[in-house]
Amino acid sequence: MNSLLGGWLGALGASLLSPIIKFAFPPYREPDEVKLPLADYRDLAPNTAKTFPWGNKPGILKKIEDGSLQAFVAVCSHLDCNVAYISAQRKFFCACHEGWYDENGVNIAGPPPKPLRRLEISVDGEELIIRRPGFKG
Protein backbone atom coordinates (compact mmCIF):
# COMPACT_ATOMS: atom_id res chain seq x y z
CA MET A 1 0.00 0.00 0.00
CA ASN A 2 2.79 2.37 0.97
CA SER A 3 4.79 1.71 -2.17
CA LEU A 4 1.65 2.05 -4.26
CA LEU A 5 0.91 5.46 -2.76
CA GLY A 6 4.58 6.48 -2.87
CA GLY A 7 4.90 5.37 -6.47
CA TRP A 8 1.81 7.30 -7.42
CA LEU A 9 3.09 10.45 -5.69
CA GLY A 10 6.49 9.99 -7.30
CA ALA A 11 4.94 9.63 -10.75
CA LEU A 12 2.83 12.73 -10.16
CA GLY A 13 5.92 14.68 -9.12
CA ALA A 14 7.88 13.46 -12.12
CA SER A 15 5.10 14.41 -14.51
CA LEU A 16 5.15 17.95 -13.11
CA LEU A 17 8.91 18.16 -13.59
CA SER A 18 8.71 18.10 -17.38
CA PRO A 19 6.75 21.36 -17.81
CA ILE A 20 9.01 23.05 -15.25
CA ILE A 21 12.13 22.03 -17.16
CA LYS A 22 10.55 22.97 -20.47
CA PHE A 23 9.74 26.43 -19.15
CA ALA A 24 13.30 26.98 -17.93
CA PHE A 25 14.77 26.75 -21.46
CA PRO A 26 13.77 29.72 -23.61
CA PRO A 27 13.53 29.08 -27.36
CA TYR A 28 16.49 30.53 -29.19
CA ARG A 29 18.34 29.61 -32.35
CA GLU A 30 21.57 31.01 -33.60
CA PRO A 31 20.83 32.92 -36.82
CA ASP A 32 21.47 31.25 -40.17
CA GLU A 33 22.32 34.57 -41.73
CA VAL A 34 22.54 38.26 -40.91
CA LYS A 35 22.45 41.19 -43.32
CA LEU A 36 24.66 44.22 -42.84
CA PRO A 37 24.86 47.48 -44.81
CA LEU A 38 27.91 47.16 -47.06
CA ALA A 39 28.65 50.90 -46.66
CA ASP A 40 29.61 50.35 -43.00
CA TYR A 41 32.40 47.95 -43.92
CA ARG A 42 33.58 49.18 -47.34
CA ASP A 43 36.13 51.62 -45.94
CA LEU A 44 37.71 49.14 -43.57
CA ALA A 45 41.51 49.34 -43.96
CA PRO A 46 43.36 46.11 -44.78
CA ASN A 47 44.34 44.10 -41.70
CA THR A 48 41.67 45.70 -39.51
CA ALA A 49 38.47 44.26 -38.17
CA LYS A 50 35.03 45.33 -37.04
CA THR A 51 32.44 43.50 -34.96
CA PHE A 52 28.83 42.84 -35.85
CA PRO A 53 26.07 41.10 -33.89
CA TRP A 54 25.74 37.42 -34.80
CA GLY A 55 22.61 36.69 -32.78
CA ASN A 56 23.70 37.08 -29.17
CA LYS A 57 27.34 36.54 -30.04
CA PRO A 58 29.84 38.94 -31.57
CA GLY A 59 30.98 38.32 -35.14
CA ILE A 60 34.14 39.82 -36.61
CA LEU A 61 34.56 41.04 -40.17
CA LYS A 62 38.19 41.38 -41.13
CA LYS A 63 39.62 42.85 -44.29
CA ILE A 64 42.63 41.05 -45.75
CA GLU A 65 45.36 42.51 -47.95
CA ASP A 66 43.66 41.75 -51.28
CA GLY A 67 40.62 43.76 -50.16
CA SER A 68 38.29 40.85 -49.56
CA LEU A 69 36.55 40.20 -46.26
CA GLN A 70 36.67 37.27 -43.84
CA ALA A 71 33.98 36.64 -41.22
CA PHE A 72 34.34 34.77 -37.93
CA VAL A 73 32.25 34.11 -34.88
CA ALA A 74 34.40 36.00 -32.39
CA VAL A 75 33.98 33.52 -29.57
CA CYS A 76 36.88 31.52 -28.18
CA SER A 77 36.69 27.76 -28.71
CA HIS A 78 38.05 27.20 -25.21
CA LEU A 79 35.57 28.67 -22.73
CA ASP A 80 33.41 31.00 -24.77
CA CYS A 81 34.98 34.40 -24.07
CA ASN A 82 34.79 37.05 -26.79
CA VAL A 83 38.05 37.37 -28.73
CA ALA A 84 39.65 40.50 -30.19
CA TYR A 85 41.65 40.93 -33.42
CA ILE A 86 45.02 42.47 -32.72
CA SER A 87 46.13 44.11 -35.95
CA ALA A 88 49.74 44.73 -34.87
CA GLN A 89 50.35 41.03 -34.33
CA ARG A 90 47.94 39.77 -37.01
CA LYS A 91 46.39 37.46 -34.46
CA PHE A 92 43.15 36.91 -32.59
CA PHE A 93 43.52 36.99 -28.83
CA CYS A 94 41.32 35.74 -26.01
CA ALA A 95 42.13 37.53 -22.76
CA CYS A 96 40.38 35.05 -20.46
CA HIS A 97 42.98 32.27 -20.59
CA GLU A 98 45.46 33.77 -23.06
CA GLY A 99 44.44 31.88 -26.16
CA TRP A 100 45.88 32.87 -29.56
CA TYR A 101 44.67 32.30 -33.13
CA ASP A 102 46.47 33.27 -36.33
CA GLU A 103 44.96 35.75 -38.82
CA ASN A 104 42.90 32.98 -40.38
CA GLY A 105 41.38 32.03 -37.04
CA VAL A 106 43.46 28.88 -36.56
CA ASN A 107 44.33 28.17 -32.93
CA ILE A 108 48.10 28.46 -32.45
CA ALA A 109 48.81 28.93 -28.73
CA GLY A 110 47.23 28.60 -25.31
CA PRO A 111 44.29 26.41 -24.38
CA PRO A 112 41.91 26.78 -27.40
CA PRO A 113 41.26 23.30 -28.85
CA LYS A 114 39.72 24.39 -32.17
CA PRO A 115 39.92 27.23 -34.71
CA LEU A 116 37.45 30.11 -34.61
CA ARG A 117 34.24 29.37 -36.50
CA ARG A 118 34.27 30.82 -40.02
CA LEU A 119 31.21 32.34 -41.67
CA GLU A 120 30.54 32.78 -45.38
CA ILE A 121 30.19 36.21 -46.95
CA SER A 122 28.33 37.27 -50.06
CA VAL A 123 27.28 40.66 -51.40
CA ASP A 124 23.79 41.46 -52.62
CA GLY A 125 23.53 45.03 -53.94
CA GLU A 126 24.27 47.29 -51.00
CA GLU A 127 24.03 44.47 -48.45
CA LEU A 128 26.60 42.16 -46.98
CA ILE A 129 25.13 38.75 -46.25
CA ILE A 130 26.90 36.71 -43.59
CA ARG A 131 25.90 33.05 -43.51
CA ARG A 132 26.51 29.96 -41.52
CA PRO A 133 28.59 27.66 -43.75
CA GLY A 134 26.32 25.43 -45.80
CA PHE A 135 23.19 27.56 -45.36
CA LYS A 136 21.54 28.19 -48.75
CA GLY A 137 19.15 31.02 -47.84
Binding site: F25, L79, D80, V83, C96, H97, P113
Partner: protein
Protein backbone atom coordinates in the same frame (compact mmCIF):
# COMPACT_ATOMS: atom_id res chain seq x y z
CA UNK B 1 5.72 37.69 33.18
CA UNK B 2 5.77 34.18 34.52
CA UNK B 3 2.26 33.58 33.19
CA UNK B 4 3.32 34.76 29.78
CA UNK B 5 6.24 32.33 29.88
CA UNK B 6 3.96 29.45 30.79
CA UNK B 7 1.55 30.44 28.04
CA UNK B 8 4.32 30.15 25.44
CA UNK B 9 5.74 27.01 27.04
CA UNK B 10 2.34 25.29 26.82
CA UNK B 11 2.02 26.09 23.13
CA UNK B 12 5.60 25.80 21.90
CA UNK B 13 7.17 23.32 24.32
CA UNK B 14 10.63 24.88 24.04
CA UNK B 15 11.78 23.96 27.55
CA UNK B 16 13.84 20.91 26.40
CA UNK B 17 15.74 23.14 23.98
CA UNK B 18 16.71 25.58 26.72
CA UNK B 19 17.56 22.71 29.06
CA UNK B 20 19.78 21.30 26.33
CA UNK B 21 21.50 24.66 25.82
CA UNK B 22 22.20 24.96 29.56
CA UNK B 23 23.72 21.50 29.65
CA UNK B 24 25.76 21.79 26.42
CA UNK B 25 29.53 21.68 26.81
CA UNK B 26 32.35 22.65 24.48
CA UNK B 27 35.58 20.66 24.98
CA UNK B 28 38.81 22.57 25.58
CA UNK B 29 42.01 21.47 23.89
CA UNK B 30 44.62 22.88 21.53
CA UNK B 31 42.31 22.70 18.50
CA UNK B 32 39.41 24.38 20.30
CA UNK B 33 39.57 27.41 18.00
CA UNK B 34 38.00 25.28 15.28
CA UNK B 35 34.73 25.35 17.20
CA UNK B 36 34.71 29.12 16.85
CA UNK B 37 35.23 29.02 13.09
CA UNK B 38 31.87 27.30 12.66
CA UNK B 39 29.85 29.75 14.70
CA UNK B 40 31.65 32.76 13.22
CA UNK B 41 30.42 31.77 9.76
CA UNK B 42 26.92 32.51 11.06
CA UNK B 43 27.89 36.13 11.71
CA UNK B 44 28.80 36.64 8.07
CA UNK B 45 25.73 34.80 6.88
CA UNK B 46 23.53 37.14 8.93
CA UNK B 47 25.39 40.17 7.54
CA UNK B 48 24.90 38.80 4.01
CA UNK B 49 21.16 38.41 4.56
CA UNK B 50 20.70 41.91 5.98
CA UNK B 51 22.89 43.76 3.47
CA UNK B 52 21.57 41.59 0.62
CA UNK B 53 17.97 42.55 1.38
CA UNK B 54 19.04 46.19 1.56
CA UNK B 55 20.79 46.06 -1.82
CA UNK B 56 17.77 44.33 -3.39
CA UNK B 57 15.66 47.38 -2.49
CA UNK B 58 17.43 49.32 -5.27
CA UNK B 59 19.02 46.71 -7.54
CA UNK B 60 17.33 46.03 -10.89
CA UNK B 61 18.17 42.67 -12.47
CA UNK B 62 17.79 43.55 -16.15
CA UNK B 63 20.23 43.99 -19.01
CA UNK B 64 19.41 47.68 -19.38
CA UNK B 65 19.35 48.69 -15.72
CA UNK B 66 21.62 46.41 -13.69
CA UNK B 67 24.89 48.31 -14.02
CA UNK B 68 23.21 51.71 -13.63
CA UNK B 69 21.29 50.58 -10.55
CA UNK B 70 24.53 49.46 -8.87
CA UNK B 71 26.12 52.79 -9.83
CA UNK B 72 23.14 54.50 -8.21
CA UNK B 73 23.58 52.46 -5.04
CA UNK B 74 27.26 53.44 -4.99
CA UNK B 75 26.78 57.16 -5.64
CA UNK B 76 23.28 58.33 -4.72
CA UNK B 77 21.77 56.11 -2.05
CA UNK B 78 22.80 57.20 1.46
CA UNK B 79 25.51 54.79 2.70
CA UNK B 80 24.91 52.66 -0.38
CA UNK B 81 28.62 52.31 -1.15
CA UNK B 82 29.41 50.89 2.26
CA UNK B 83 26.45 48.49 2.23
CA UNK B 84 27.63 47.08 -1.10
CA UNK B 85 31.22 46.99 0.11
CA UNK B 86 30.26 45.15 3.30
CA UNK B 87 28.19 42.68 1.26
CA UNK B 88 31.12 42.01 -1.05
CA UNK B 89 33.72 41.73 1.74
CA UNK B 90 31.50 39.68 3.99
CA UNK B 91 31.07 37.15 1.16
CA UNK B 92 34.84 36.75 1.01
CA UNK B 93 35.16 36.45 4.79
CA UNK B 94 32.37 33.89 4.90
CA UNK B 95 33.88 31.69 2.21
CA UNK B 96 37.34 32.00 3.76
CA UNK B 97 35.95 30.86 7.12
CA UNK B 98 34.01 28.00 5.54
CA UNK B 99 37.26 26.85 3.91
CA UNK B 100 39.26 27.16 7.15
CA UNK B 101 36.49 25.36 9.03
CA UNK B 102 36.44 22.47 6.56
CA UNK B 103 40.20 22.10 6.17
CA UNK B 104 40.69 22.29 9.95
CA UNK B 105 38.04 19.65 10.51
CA UNK B 106 39.55 17.42 7.85
CA UNK B 107 42.98 17.71 9.50
CA UNK B 108 41.74 16.79 13.00
CA UNK B 109 39.40 14.22 11.43
CA UNK B 110 36.34 15.47 13.29
CA UNK B 111 34.32 13.98 10.41
CA UNK B 112 34.85 10.43 11.64
CA UNK B 113 31.94 8.22 12.67
CA UNK B 114 29.19 9.23 13.51
CA UNK B 115 29.67 12.72 11.98
CA UNK B 116 29.98 11.77 8.30
CA UNK B 117 26.66 13.42 7.37
CA UNK B 118 27.64 16.58 9.25
CA UNK B 119 30.78 16.78 7.10
CA UNK B 120 28.87 16.12 3.88
CA UNK B 121 26.32 18.85 4.57
CA UNK B 122 29.31 21.08 5.39
CA UNK B 123 30.92 20.41 1.98
CA UNK B 124 27.58 21.10 0.30
CA UNK B 125 27.36 24.36 2.25
CA UNK B 126 30.77 25.32 0.84
CA UNK B 127 29.52 24.56 -2.68
CA UNK B 128 26.37 26.62 -2.10
CA UNK B 129 28.45 29.49 -0.67
CA UNK B 130 30.64 29.45 -3.79
CA UNK B 131 27.54 29.42 -5.99
CA UNK B 132 26.31 32.46 -4.07
CA UNK B 133 29.62 34.13 -4.88
CA UNK B 134 29.50 33.07 -8.53
CA UNK B 135 25.93 34.25 -9.13
CA UNK B 136 26.48 37.45 -7.17
CA UNK B 137 29.59 38.32 -9.18
CA UNK B 138 27.53 38.74 -12.37
CA UNK B 139 24.91 41.05 -10.86
CA UNK B 140 26.85 44.37 -11.22
CA UNK B 141 26.90 43.48 -14.96
CA UNK B 142 30.25 45.03 -15.84
CA UNK B 143 32.78 43.78 -18.39
CA UNK B 144 34.71 41.69 -15.88
CA UNK B 145 31.67 39.97 -14.47
CA UNK B 146 30.33 39.17 -17.93
CA UNK B 147 33.54 37.42 -18.99
CA UNK B 148 33.83 35.55 -15.70
CA UNK B 149 30.28 34.30 -16.11
CA UNK B 150 30.85 33.27 -19.71
CA UNK B 151 33.78 31.12 -18.60
CA UNK B 152 32.08 29.82 -15.48
CA UNK B 153 28.89 28.76 -17.22
CA UNK B 154 30.85 27.22 -20.11
CA UNK B 155 32.79 24.90 -17.81
CA UNK B 156 29.94 22.36 -17.30
CA UNK B 157 29.88 21.88 -21.10
CA UNK B 158 33.02 19.79 -20.75
CA UNK B 159 31.14 17.18 -18.69
CA UNK B 160 30.04 14.37 -21.00
CA UNK B 161 26.31 13.79 -21.69
CA UNK B 162 24.61 16.30 -19.38
CA UNK B 163 27.14 19.15 -19.65
CA UNK B 164 25.70 21.10 -22.59
CA UNK B 165 22.29 20.88 -21.00
CA UNK B 166 23.54 22.28 -17.66
CA UNK B 167 25.21 25.21 -19.44
CA UNK B 168 22.01 25.98 -21.31
CA UNK B 169 20.01 25.84 -18.10
CA UNK B 170 22.41 28.16 -16.25
CA UNK B 171 22.48 30.67 -19.10
CA UNK B 172 18.87 30.45 -20.12
CA UNK B 173 19.95 29.80 -23.70
CA UNK B 174 23.14 29.24 -25.69
CA UNK B 175 24.76 32.51 -24.69
CA UNK B 176 25.13 34.74 -21.66
CA UNK B 177 22.45 37.40 -22.16
CA UNK B 178 20.04 39.53 -20.15
CA UNK B 179 18.10 36.34 -19.43
CA UNK B 180 21.19 34.96 -17.70
CA UNK B 181 21.42 38.04 -15.50
CA UNK B 182 17.79 37.81 -14.39
CA UNK B 183 18.18 34.08 -13.82
CA UNK B 184 21.31 34.54 -11.71
CA UNK B 185 19.49 37.13 -9.63
CA UNK B 186 16.70 34.63 -8.96
CA UNK B 187 19.23 31.92 -8.03
CA UNK B 188 21.06 34.39 -5.80
CA UNK B 189 18.10 35.78 -3.86
CA UNK B 190 15.58 32.96 -3.95
CA UNK B 191 16.80 29.48 -4.89
CA UNK B 192 20.18 29.43 -3.11
CA UNK B 193 18.83 30.97 0.14
CA UNK B 194 16.25 28.17 0.36
CA UNK B 195 18.95 25.57 -0.22
CA UNK B 196 21.39 27.10 2.26
CA UNK B 197 18.75 27.28 5.00
CA UNK B 198 17.74 23.68 4.46
CA UNK B 199 21.35 22.46 4.54
CA UNK B 200 22.20 24.67 7.49
CA UNK B 201 19.23 23.39 9.49
CA UNK B 202 20.35 19.79 8.96
CA UNK B 203 24.00 20.70 9.65
CA UNK B 204 23.29 22.51 12.92
CA UNK B 205 20.84 19.84 14.04
CA UNK B 206 23.50 17.17 13.45
CA UNK B 207 26.14 19.17 15.33
CA UNK B 208 23.80 19.34 18.34
CA UNK B 209 22.73 15.72 18.03
CA UNK B 210 26.27 14.33 18.03
CA UNK B 211 27.78 16.98 20.30
CA UNK B 212 31.23 18.45 19.81
CA UNK B 213 33.85 16.12 18.40
CA UNK B 214 36.78 15.30 20.67
CA UNK B 215 40.39 15.14 19.49
CA UNK B 216 41.17 11.76 17.94
CA UNK B 217 43.94 10.96 20.46
CA UNK B 218 41.74 11.72 23.45
CA UNK B 219 39.00 9.55 22.02
CA UNK B 220 41.33 6.62 21.38
CA UNK B 221 42.82 6.84 24.88
CA UNK B 222 39.39 7.52 26.38
CA UNK B 223 41.01 10.46 28.19
CA UNK B 224 38.93 13.06 29.97
CA UNK B 225 38.95 16.38 28.16
CA UNK B 226 38.21 19.55 30.17
CA UNK B 227 35.23 21.47 28.89
CA UNK B 228 33.60 24.85 28.88
CA UNK B 229 29.87 25.41 29.39
CA UNK B 230 28.26 26.56 26.14
CA UNK B 231 26.11 29.03 28.04
CA UNK B 232 27.37 31.56 28.95
CA UNK B 233 31.15 30.93 28.69
CA UNK B 234 31.46 29.77 25.09
CA UNK B 235 28.93 32.28 23.81
CA UNK B 236 30.70 35.12 25.57
CA UNK B 237 34.02 34.18 23.96
CA UNK B 238 32.28 33.72 20.65
CA UNK B 239 30.76 37.19 20.89
CA UNK B 240 34.25 38.63 21.34
CA UNK B 241 35.29 36.86 18.12
CA UNK B 242 32.21 38.27 16.37
CA UNK B 243 33.05 41.81 17.48
CA UNK B 244 36.64 41.49 16.27
CA UNK B 245 35.51 40.03 12.93
CA UNK B 246 32.90 42.75 12.54
CA UNK B 247 35.48 45.45 13.20
CA UNK B 248 37.91 44.01 10.65
CA UNK B 249 35.10 43.58 8.12
CA UNK B 250 33.87 47.17 8.34
CA UNK B 251 37.45 48.47 8.23
CA UNK B 252 38.20 46.53 5.06
CA UNK B 253 34.88 47.58 3.54
CA UNK B 254 35.59 51.26 4.18
CA UNK B 255 39.20 51.15 3.03
CA UNK B 256 38.77 48.96 -0.04
CA UNK B 257 35.35 49.36 -1.61
CA UNK B 258 34.75 47.19 -4.68
CA UNK B 259 34.90 48.97 -8.03
CA UNK B 260 32.28 48.98 -10.73
CA UNK B 261 33.38 48.70 -14.34
CA UNK B 262 31.54 50.04 -17.39
CA UNK B 263 28.31 48.22 -18.25
CA UNK B 264 28.89 44.88 -19.94
CA UNK B 265 28.70 44.84 -23.73
CA UNK B 266 27.78 41.43 -25.12
CA UNK B 267 29.79 42.08 -28.30
CA UNK B 268 32.96 43.53 -26.79
CA UNK B 269 36.10 41.38 -26.52
CA UNK B 270 36.99 40.13 -23.05
CA UNK B 271 38.98 42.75 -21.13
CA UNK B 272 42.59 41.83 -20.41
CA UNK B 273 43.48 40.56 -16.96
CA UNK B 274 40.14 39.02 -16.18
CA UNK B 275 40.18 37.08 -12.96
CA UNK B 276 37.42 35.48 -10.96
CA UNK B 277 37.01 36.02 -7.22
CA UNK B 278 39.99 34.78 -5.19
CA UNK B 279 38.25 31.57 -4.13
CA UNK B 280 37.99 30.43 -7.75
CA UNK B 281 41.58 31.32 -8.66
CA UNK B 282 43.03 27.83 -8.14
CA UNK B 283 40.33 26.36 -10.40
CA UNK B 284 40.87 29.17 -12.93
CA UNK B 285 44.61 28.48 -12.99
CA UNK B 286 44.00 24.72 -13.29
CA UNK B 287 41.93 25.33 -16.43
CA UNK B 288 44.61 27.62 -17.78
CA UNK B 289 47.54 25.21 -17.42
CA UNK B 290 45.88 22.29 -19.18
CA UNK B 291 46.94 22.12 -22.84
CA UNK B 292 44.31 21.99 -25.60
CA UNK B 293 44.69 18.22 -25.97
CA UNK B 294 45.97 15.53 -23.65
CA UNK B 295 46.38 12.37 -25.72
CA UNK B 296 42.97 12.09 -27.40
CA UNK B 297 40.87 13.99 -24.87
CA UNK B 298 40.35 17.72 -24.80
CA UNK B 299 42.39 19.26 -21.99
CA UNK B 300 39.36 21.15 -20.78
CA UNK B 301 37.26 18.02 -20.38
CA UNK B 302 40.09 16.32 -18.53
CA UNK B 303 40.60 19.30 -16.21
CA UNK B 304 36.89 19.60 -15.42
CA UNK B 305 36.55 15.86 -14.79
CA UNK B 306 39.60 15.90 -12.49
CA UNK B 307 38.19 18.85 -10.54
CA UNK B 308 34.85 17.06 -10.28
CA UNK B 309 36.55 13.86 -9.09
CA UNK B 310 38.53 15.80 -6.48
CA UNK B 311 35.29 17.38 -5.27
CA UNK B 312 33.64 13.98 -4.91
CA UNK B 313 36.62 12.61 -2.97
CA UNK B 314 36.47 15.66 -0.68
CA UNK B 315 32.74 15.14 -0.15
CA UNK B 316 33.14 11.44 0.57
CA UNK B 317 36.31 11.84 2.66
CA UNK B 318 34.84 10.42 5.90
CA UNK B 319 33.70 7.30 4.04
CA UNK B 320 37.10 6.71 2.42
CA UNK B 321 39.13 7.65 5.49
CA UNK B 322 37.37 5.03 7.63
CA UNK B 323 40.29 4.02 9.86
CA UNK B 324 41.35 7.45 11.13
CA UNK B 325 43.53 6.26 13.99
CA UNK B 326 45.61 3.88 11.85
CA UNK B 327 48.27 4.33 9.18
CA UNK B 328 45.62 4.82 6.50
CA UNK B 329 44.37 7.83 8.45
CA UNK B 330 47.78 9.50 8.30
CA UNK B 331 47.77 9.13 4.53
CA UNK B 332 44.62 11.23 4.35
CA UNK B 333 46.11 13.95 6.53
CA UNK B 334 48.90 14.08 3.94
CA UNK B 335 46.35 14.18 1.15
CA UNK B 336 44.52 17.14 2.72
CA UNK B 337 47.85 18.96 3.13
CA UNK B 338 48.74 18.20 -0.49
CA UNK B 339 45.38 19.57 -1.67
CA UNK B 340 45.85 22.66 0.46
CA UNK B 341 49.35 23.30 -0.88
CA UNK B 342 48.12 22.75 -4.44
CA UNK B 343 45.28 25.27 -4.00
CA UNK B 344 47.54 27.86 -2.37
CA UNK B 345 50.31 27.43 -4.94
CA UNK B 346 47.96 27.78 -7.91
CA UNK B 347 46.28 30.79 -6.33
CA UNK B 348 49.66 32.51 -5.95
CA UNK B 349 50.65 31.46 -9.48
CA UNK B 350 47.48 32.96 -10.95
CA UNK B 351 48.30 36.28 -9.30
CA UNK B 352 51.83 36.49 -10.75
Amino acid sequence: MKRLRFWFEDRLGTAPIFAFMRKKDVPRHKHSFLYYTGSSILLFLIIQIVTGIMLALYYKPTLEQANASVARIMTEIPLGWIIRSVHSWSASFMIALVMIHLVGIALVKAYRRPREATWMTGVLLLVVSMLFGFTGYLLPWDDLSLSATKVGTDIPKAIPVIGAWVTKFLRGGDDVTGDTLTRFFVFHVSVLPLVIFLLLAVHIFLVQKHGMSLPLKAEVKKARVPSLPFWPNFLLRESVAWLVFFGVLVTMAVMFAPSLGPAANLLAPAPSGIKPEWYFLFLFQTLKIFPAHVLFVSGETLAVLLILAAGIVFFALPLIDNRPAEKKGRFFVGLVYAGLIYALALTVWSLL
